[in-house]
Symmetry: C2
Subunit: 112 residues, 2 copies
Amino acid sequence: MNLFDNVPTNLPSELVEVLAEGQSVRIERIVSTGHTTEPGTWYDQEQDEWVVVLKGEAKLSFDDGEPVTMKPGDHLLIPAHRRHRVEWTTKKEPTLWLAVFFEKVSGTFLAE
Amino acid sequence: MNLFDNVPTNLPSELVEVLAEGQSVRIERIVSTGHTTEPGTWYDQEQDEWVVVLKGEAKLSFDDGEPVTMKPGDHLLIPAHRRHRVEWTTKKEPTLWLAVFFEKVSGTFLAE
């Protein structure tokens, strides 16, 4: 199986595929073709999310800080409940994300 | 932070960096420059490992099956205790791996 195979170039909505899953972890491949999070809505997740862009380009926004532009290889940890949204993804080519959702180490992120 | 930055081309041993970590998950970036697992030894891990090659090329061997050649984008789930070794990595360029170690869903893999 190859991450770069079967990347659709035109999708009605984001394509999410679960690549592997464990007791408290989920690894997803996500393909966006110009998609953004619905205006006025935020992701507010129970789990931490580590995310990397492998192709394409995207911009994430946060309700508590500056937006982040992500190009291939750029990765980011989004702690649980840090409200964020996909502000923009390029329409020039599909944007391929790899996301790992997992349980944080108790207290670690709060203590930092 | 970018996965493709600061990739050394010549290393005395594999370079392992922890990118993110949770209660029962660890996300690592691994760089090999021709390294292999020490002859005669196997990895025998407590956790499942999902692994993808992002650059370079590698060959994994298993004590219970055929070897697998991995090129950029190729990914694989190695269940806990499936004995494996890195048989070969290319010397032409660094091989960049992303590995996610995690706890399996109880019984799921045994039941399959």
